[in-house]
Symmetry: C2
Subunit: 443 residues, 2 copies
Amino acid sequence: MNTEKTKGLSTDPYKGVRDFYPEDMFILNYIFGVMRKTVEKFGYQEYSASILEPTELYKAKSGEEIINEQTYSFKDRGDRDVTLRPEMTPTVTRMVAARKRELVFPLRWYSIPNLFRYEKPQRGRLREHYQLNVDLFGVVSNDAEVEIIALAHQIMRQFGAQEDNFIIRVNNRKTINYILEEVFTLDPHQAYKALKLIDKKDKMTPAEFKEKATEFFKKRTQFFLDLLNAKTIEDMTEVAIAEGSTEILGTKEVTDVMHRLKLMGVKNAVFDPTLARGFDYYTGVVFEVFDTSPDNPRALFGGGRFDDLLSVFGSDKVPAFGFGMGDVTIRDYLETYNLLPEIRSKTDIMLCLLDDSVHIFADTFAQKLRREQLNVAIDMSGKKVGQQIENANKSKIPYIIVIGEDEIKNSQFKLKNLESGKEIVLPSEKDIADIILKTPEQQ
Amino acid sequence: MNTEKTKGLSTDPYKGVRDFYPEDMFILNYIFGVMRKTVEKFGYQEYSASILEPTELYKAKSGEEIINEQTYSFKDRGDRDVTLRPEMTPTVTRMVAARKRELVFPLRWYSIPNLFRYEKPQRGRLREHYQLNVDLFGVVSNDAEVEIIALAHQIMRQFGAQEDNFIIRVNNRKTINYILEEVFTLDPHQAYKALKLIDKKDKMTPAEFKEKATEFFKKRTQFFLDLLNAKTIEDMTEVAIAEGSTEILGTKEVTDVMHRLKLMGVKNAVFDPTLARGFDYYTGVVFEVFDTSPDNPRALFGGGRFDDLLSVFGSDKVPAFGFGMGDVTIRDYLETYNLLPEIRSKTDIMLCLLDDSVHIFADTFAQKLRREQLNVAIDMSGKKVGQQIENANKSKIPYIIVIGEDEIKNSQFKLKNLESGKEIVLPSEKDIADIILKTPEQQ
């Protein structure tokens, strides 16, 4: 046993959550920055809310599994049932319902909330993660699908992902529902269970899936599998007609969306009839962005249409289409494809002090440099200058200036670039700012 | 009873927390932006952590009242005691202790966490708020006090506060402790209770305070009050010596800090022997920024030195000085002094569509404008153009372009500034970007 630990409280964070040290925060801020910049290009406005929500908010539509087994829920001291939000969609829907009359539709909203799930911690599935949520409210037509999926595609491109390193799978809940309820005439309860089975298809072998499917589709199981295995909408229609069925509902919408996405330069969208998406509240087109890596094929994020969600607030329907993109999965993806930027400090200069007598000068000198828009720290360690420089380097600060009596007397300061080793003597803080702020990599 | 509400779930947020609609988020992001920019000027690096912490983290040092009555604490499904963090200092101390050997000191860290307190909601005291936390670890000398207080002052100035609209009160826990334990020879338990009384001084009348003080100081109560009423360190020393005591411990430090702050341009720092600050963990200089408004004099935020906090982790002492600045109080202050910026959309242009046939053109045209770094939304409402323009205006979007068949045919687009009413006809997205991005108020 580690003797350090027996001496006091543990320094570990709570199980399944993360501490963000500055280098972690740099990466998180990079990811948030790309997300923000891209969604704002498309005219989306940021909103936010508390992580605390009344538990009843999730009872209506999130899916039974999530509420019963996977949420942090507790009673507050006023005996209210409170839940730490496991997803943002119920919150944003609540906010839209609350001000439905004043808000200007179509409404383009985004947020990057932290979300909580009480699950066994594992790769890519922590108990707390961040998730970009993008929603377009008030658009009935496929214009919403086209814009949002193009936006999701654009975020991936802005992260540096190549088009052959991810695909966008598109399906329609109407299509699945039509197949289950009309083609195979399952009752709503059976159809719901079959939908959940389709959603878990990737987690089992084809044989297992077929066996479980047989419980629902009996002798017509092969027909069902043939429909799901269709690679294109034409294939699916052909299979359906061959078995005496008609064209499948909802496929025309998907065809239209994919056509318009192509016009917008999205070349990697494909139809996937097996795509279900977990949440119960989807009512139309759903999509999922998928990592095409042969080593680790997996869903990165996705979303869909949810036209009915406002009804739980007694409000009229508001058509909505949106998606959520988690930080953990996307960070793994960016790491895999080597797309994360190199970590560097936001501090431009460390002032290293030859001795403590120059500290008062350094205080005011730093203030002048800050007025020139530079980020400036002062080494207060009292260590030898060599050690101070080493520490600046270790902290990934790009420039240092050593300050001693001579520098102050002559008003000449040697700016040293720690990466290149180059030194340049400069008389004023304005000259120093010019050098640093004009270096292209510092922009 | 409102019939709307009986039809469904309530759209209210959980009691005592806030929803942030885009206009609220604009203000919050403005406040965070000024905080970030200023602390980064001083070389501080951002860190973060989960809001979930083991409850035991707070038992050691936060102060009894906070743990027993004011936290959100619950047992998780694994029977662990969990608390929603009520303050950030225990978390940051935990993180520093965990990596004490690898971290480069002095360490300049900041974060803007959300914090939770289970209190009766009232003005400026919500159950969840955000708080800038700034900490400097590893500096024993008053260099830390000088830098951090100058930084706090600079944030106020960056918000536009005038120096006569706030003052910075400075005191020393060593001074209070010396007065209580040495001058008046209270035992540690009595001294702790007397400190809490001093902390609550502003919440009672002078007569009430005197009455309660008499319990501790008996016949020497007037001497105690005279010490607390000293307006300067010289006054206090004079009072002490007149009563046969010696110079008070810790006052020289305060004198030094205030002298150096003046050299850095901080003119509104004053000595205040009544300043205690709530938390138990302070060990040296404490300060508080105070609104000087005669209508509503009140503490805005503050901080102090906490050199002993790492010891609860079995770690060696690490000197530390820091402060926390809440978003609710500062927002009230900025409102009072009319210092909040005007709300505007981050979207530069709304494309208004004459009819739906131009939508496919608008999709690609918007993409081109986005490539020129403009934030562009498309009106998908299908409403009349006049209504679309009105909605853009209501959403505080500065520019619109109406797109119809003619505009597409002639490749001539009329950019309209909704504030000035000016229109200018431009042939390409590059010209449009030049106009918008060069407008000074859009920078």
